[in-house]
Symmetry: C2
Subunit: 377 residues, 2 copies
Amino acid sequence: MKKNLLFTPGPTPIPPEALLAMAQPIDYHRSNATAALIKDVLEKLKHVFQTENDVLFLTSSGTGAMEGAVSNLLSRGEKAIVIRSGKFGERWGEICATYGIEVIPIDVTWGNSVEPDIVASALAEHTDVKAVFATLCETSTGVLHDIEALARLTRIRPTLLVVDAVSALGADDLQMDNWGVDVVVSCSQKGLMTPPGLAFAAVNQRAWDAVERSDLPKYYLDFRKAYESGLEGSVPYTPAVTLLTALQQALNRICAEGIQHTIDRHNRLALATRSAIKALGLPLFAASPANTLTSIRLPEGIDGKALINLMRDTYGITYAGGQSQLSGKIVRIAHLGWMNENDVIVAISAFERGLVEIGHAIPLGAGVSAAQEIFTQ
Amino acid sequence: MKKNLLFTPGPTPIPPEALLAMAQPIDYHRSNATAALIKDVLEKLKHVFQTENDVLFLTSSGTGAMEGAVSNLLSRGEKAIVIRSGKFGERWGEICATYGIEVIPIDVTWGNSVEPDIVASALAEHTDVKAVFATLCETSTGVLHDIEALARLTRIRPTLLVVDAVSALGADDLQMDNWGVDVVVSCSQKGLMTPPGLAFAAVNQRAWDAVERSDLPKYYLDFRKAYESGLEGSVPYTPAVTLLTALQQALNRICAEGIQHTIDRHNRLALATRSAIKALGLPLFAASPANTLTSIRLPEGIDGKALINLMRDTYGITYAGGQSQLSGKIVRIAHLGWMNENDVIVAISAFERGLVEIGHAIPLGAGVSAAQEIFTQ
């Protein structure tokens, strides 16, 4: 009796009312009902983004919003600092390079978060940098970056701070307005518990001023068009109406819980998972781990791919493996979105059994009981 | 007891098995099951595109694939002929202008299709034109363009023919390989009976050669990355998995019917609708009408917007109105996708009642019986 469970950092499980919303007959995108849907969704997203800025959406993966942030904010020949601590930081650099932006990279060892002092030095050295591209949770390593510290550096300068919160929005704290972050991009299939296909950007006034000056080419990913249409409950191009109906249901859950409680819940799930992994004698990969997911460095001799295949095929449990240079070396267990304490117990219990089955002796139940300790506190 | 029925040229109604597929728990996009899903969908799309070329997909609206066709095929400073006979032809021109492409416009009166001779003259005059951007069905007017005639002009030259088949794929005939069309773009929410959020491009070898040389910036809309990933059942970025599951169901319907029969069905529905409109004494707006939708020029004094609102609010029937310069002046009735003869009878019957109710006297039932005549032939 197989039950498939996703512990991947996106797509994450979808609540039943969001699934059922998608099974309803589709509505025309230029209807009053869809206009009300779009307005409702965009209003609720402000709560999740912790901002008074209006949020815009695109029908695309999160990468579409990342590319839009580059092509809408920057102009030919400008410079940007890119913090590269994993696959998604590298993506910022690749997109900037595509548009001929001069990239000043700050490379961080995978598994570590950036030292704000190093960013401060780079900003002091390159006073003409237009933007800093950073990542809230680097999904490829499970690292949380100190965005608040970075914002303290940028908000006193004309330099913009652009944050990829693709995986971490709604799981790790990101106080866009309080901290002074200029642009936050995210998408639907992570903390927002909705299928992939919608991407979002929250843009403050400093950033809109840069958009006004930008001369890089953009059409489908044009932030201004998406933003202005959204204010009217409209869209420049046919949106993924079905996914918007699911998103509305998922946002109702987050708004009912309250974003701070949502983040607290993710924090508790993450603490329990980390405690469990330590109790199993395995090292965490991330020096500053996010609430979004937990990365575990596997012992030498354990084939991460084999472990993940075993878990998926035998137990119906899908974890994520390592990407790029970490392929086969780490396991990533997400506790993200529509997740509670029972889900984490299942994730840990199955992980324990998988380790034993693949030949790595651990004390069965040690992880589960460590997690239970956290949950009963 | 309201039953909402969509006669809009996208989104179109979704068959029940496609709706229910979306209500299933979501799968990880890097799973064997999703890889098999992607391969199956891309294989079946070849049948619909009438091509042996592999098809690529993007998570975006159709406009994303249109922009991708420009940014992937062309290079800085190149020239393109753009056929502008409505809103979507104009969109080709806008996208080209965004990327600094020199546009040689061929403007056609809205409601007419382009004269191939005019395109031939333009090609003779501008021998260095890299591509001709055309539209199969100009959705804003309901006009069908003679793509086969245009392909006869381009396939004997290095000039590429790029066709927007966004609304007409699966409804109007487009024999990509037989005619020698180089690139065809389309999307999910029209003839493919799937919610919006997926876009497609079929690209032949001549066009891939141009992609190799192209120096315009593209990242999210990179055709090469999408194509090469798709061959492996993979994706460069998290795709709209849910929409792919719906698309698979919808494609099963088209493949079971067979693309030629699917087009024939649309042709019969269109013939009946046009016959009905003529029987009501109203003029068709399109000189060469498509199978995709029927555009009706409203009599002077009839407010098209009021008619459309009445139909939607009172009868639950959604037609599309006119766009841009045609706002309020035409009604567009789509017979597109998951549609059969009974649907067309409903569309016509409701239209008759709406006309009477808004004060335009017509012989009630004249349209319905004209359609029935076609269906009984």
